[in-house]
Symmetry: C2
Subunit: 299 residues, 2 copies
């Protein structure tokens, strides 16, 4: 049965209007947000990804999937804010989130509020991205199950009002399975796997890279750390999964994280694939999410 | 006496090449990086800020300051990466960093390595931005002294190889004073103050806002928290200062953080100034940093 988004914030009912600052969307009347419902009420899937250019590419890709013959340039609905891009292709909303949890959580809070005000029914949020791999071939697509933080704990840690708050960080099994059944086709030429993911707030020291501006450990210590990750079932490292899984769980909205690995960190830190190969790898999460969306809406 | 940038990473000397991935700058030969030195060796100031559009605006603003009559569009040297913008105006490098520490630390690591390879002499990194204020009028410019994290501790906490590492987080007094002497002119019409800053990785729950998608506290608890901040000398809240001060201290590179407040959080969470006022406020850090740069290079 479909259901709207019920957010865990009792304070929202006291707000007569709500300006979604970073999306530059004004909900002028929170009680009767019919304008917002008209514009966004049909949204069933929200795709998020790091860069605005990738989300624009995905918007164009999904037009084909959705059987939309429009050839016009996708309109960035949040262009005025200069921070995030927001596109809409039929029932799919696409938002860029930048690099890492700090920037992604800002836009995620506002997207969740938008889904609520628009009375979207049972939406799912799917992040697509690139990541480092741990013991898997570059080009492998990883669908995250449990998200670990930089302390190798399967939880999201966040300071709230000065106190340490720890919240669960995993993605709903049903969504993972619904996505996975669109992977591993014989024609794909790459593996789509379910695995655990480590998310960090630092790309260099946080992920055990030895090629950052500051580094106080050596290659041996790094490898020991990465092998510890591997033992925990971690097959990829990115910068958003713990926050994304945690906040969507708190909000009661389904979510998933689908990333393609572009380096095997057990072999080195530097990304050494050509830009062409990287571009091709980036298409792989498009393919999977495209099939998933086709399964939902395709004719 | 001028000095080059000596980074605390002994592993770098074992790298014959270094691809600064997110800046899309290839240091093909780390031993003889004369091409990089030719292009970037004159850099004395690195300005960082959230959005690429603001950094482009600042690049154009600084042309006037530096007496450069060029009217061409600033060239984004990192455009190929689609993540960060990088401009160069004479001895000033300008980089966008996105929202928050996760994204800002990535580009900061790479900028620090760029300064090292380019043999820049005694450079200073200055972040400009917008922020929430705590008990100061919107429009006040805050130059950060000590940076507090979301736990109200004057330190930067980062997981490295799975362990909690805590590092100092403050900006060098001399740089603060050098900047402050360019503020508070009678014609300014706004205050420029030195104060402490709180940085969080979450704009909503992390900063005690009650208007996020998830919130488990009420307005009274929020106000108590903000008053605790105020008691610690915190007059503004943003998302980068602890990481920025900590990482630049580790790297031995001078830095500063200059932000204009656009809301007084003691009075509310929502940004209620008009876009025009916001635009005008955003110019205030430009003014201060412009005078500072004019003091260094102006004719």
């Amino acid at each position: 049965m479909s259901k709207g988004v019920e957010l865990k914030n009792p304070n929202l009912k006291n707000m007569s209007s709500d300006y979604l600052y970073h999306l530059t969307i004004n909900v002028a009347n929170t009680v009767d947000a019919s304008d917002i419902q008209q514009q966004f009420g049909d949204v069933k899937v929200v795709c998020m990804g790091g860069t605005s250019s990738r989300m624009r590419d995905l918007a164009l890709y999904l037009r084909n999937v959705l059987g939309n013959s429009d050839t016009s340039e996708p309109i960035d609905l949040a262009a005025g804010g200069h921070r995030y891009a927001l596109f809409k292709e039929g029932p799919v909303l696409l938002a860029s989130h930048g690099v890492g949890s700090s920037t992604a959580s800002v836009v995620l809070h506002e997207l969740l509020k938008l889904l609520k005000y628009a009375k979207c029914q049972d939406p799912v949020i799917i992040r697509i991205g690139t990541c480092g791999g741990v013991g898997v071939a570059p080009g492998t697509v990883v669908v995250t199950k449990n998200a670990f933080n930089g302390y190798l704990r399967n939880e999201h840690e966040i300071p709230i009002l000065g106190k340490r708050v720890v919240r669960p960080a995993y993605f709903p099994e049903q969504v993972i399975q619904d996505i996975l059944k669109h992977g591993n086709r014989s024609e794909d030429g790459f593996d789509t796997i379910i695995a655990n993911t480590m998310s960090t707030d630092c790309f260099y020291e946080g992920q055990g890279r030895i090629d950052g501006a500051v580094c106080e450990y050596d290659d041996a210590a790094k490898l020991e750390f990465l092998k510890e990750c591997h033992k925990l079932g971690i097959r990829n490292i990115e910068m958003e999964a713990t926050m994304l899984s945690s906040l969507t769980l708190q909000a009661g909205v389904k979510a998933a994280d689908i990333c393609v690995t572009i380096v095997n960190r057990l072999n080195g830190d530097q990304v050494e694939i050509t830009p062409e190969t990287k571009k091709a790898f980036e298409q792989r999460p498009f393919l999977i999410v495209g099939r998933y969306i086709q399964g939902l809406f395709g004719k």
